[in-house]
């Protein structure tokens, strides 16, 4: 997209408007037309499933958080690829080498994570330190 005035985003705006209108109308209609008779069976997460026990709001393992952290770090890495890809042709080899260097440094981190088993869910070592 070369022109960056608002006109070029008109399809996006139309899409946004349609999506909001549709979801708004659906929620409004179902709250107006539908009738509610809640019962304990109906408000269960799985009406026809196993009877739930306990609370779903339990503290989770910190491993999930580690995965989220790593996701963000690689997300930040990926965001720098956008301006790079945009001017890739004018940068020529300089940009290519520069990006290889950048990704190479992060690849070290990736291998570190891999070796430490941060990406591995069922590693025996992980199970041992959870038990301890």
């Amino acid at each position: 997209m070369t022109g960056n005035d608002l006109q070029s985003y008109a399809p996006l705006l139309l899409h946004l408007t349609l999506a909001m209108a549709l979801s708004g109308v659906l929620v409004l209609l179902s709250s107006l037309v539908g009738w509610r008779r809640p019962s304990t069976t109906k408000s269960q997460p799985y009406e026809c499933g196993i009877t739930p026990t306990g609370d779903a709001r339990e503290p989770f393992s910190v491993k999930f958080y580690l995965v989220a952290m790593v996701f963000i770090l690689f997300d930040v890495e990926a965001i720098f690829l956008y301006p790079w890809a945009y001017i890739f042709r004018e940068l020529r080899w300089f940009g290519f080498v520069e990006m290889i260097l950048y990704i190479g440094i992060l690849l070290v981190g990736y291998f570190y994570l891999w070796k430490k088993g941060a990406l591995d869910w069922n590693r025996p070592a992980v199970r041992r330190d959870r038990a301890s």
């Binding site: 960056n4 989220a68 770090l73 720098f80 950048y102």
Partner: protein, 168 residues
């Protein structure tokens, strides 16, 4: 005209959802409203022709940071916060101060505009796509900081592993 409608739409959306973030009792609802607030801000960025900021806002904030927030919500127990008092007793004082500050800023902008003449807005068509400009600066003047940023990310990665794992 369309510009203004779009701006006010996103601005009002951002403010309303930001207020909802702090007033909801359910943390998950707050998180959802925070996503709306961040996306509305992204809309304003796009309208200001800051395409790179827009994509950063959508991918990093609405995508990445929100994942982190939701994981934090999962990690802490919610029952404790549900039974706590949401605001302390000085909340009305805080609201009053915020309103006073808002009024002062409004007056300052309205009165001080004569002292600070705004430049003519650049015609939109003259601007280059901002992603291209960011890239050009990033790969000429700021090449070293850019590479240092990758080392910073590496350090953060190692730090996350060291702190999250009991046995390294």
């Amino acid at each position: 005209m369309l510009d203004q409608i779009v701006f006010y739409f996103f601005a009002v959306l951002a403010v309303i959802s930001a207020v909802m973030v702090v007033t909801r009792r359910n943390v998950v609802q707050s998180a959802i409203f925070l996503i709306t607030a961040l996306l509305a801000t992204a809309g304003i960025f796009l309208q200001l022709h800051a395409e790179f900021l827009f994509i950063v806002q959508v991918i990093l904030y609405a995508g990445g940071i929100m994942v982190l927030f939701v994981f934090v919500i999962m990690l802490v127990s919610l029952d404790v916060s549900l039974n706590q008092v949401q605001f302390n007793r000085q909340w009305w004082l805080g609201l009053l101060l915020a309103l006073v500050l808002g009024a002062q800023l409004t007056i300052a902008v309205a009165v001080g505009r004569a002292g600070l003449p705004l430049g003519e807005p650049a015609p939109a068509k003259m601007l280059e796509p901002s992603t291209q400009l960011v890239g050009r600066v990033l790969f000429s003047e700021y090449v070293l900081p850019f590479e240092i940023a990758s080392i910073l990310l590496l350090v953060a990665m190692i730090g996350a592993v060291v702190m999250a794992k009991k046995k390294i």
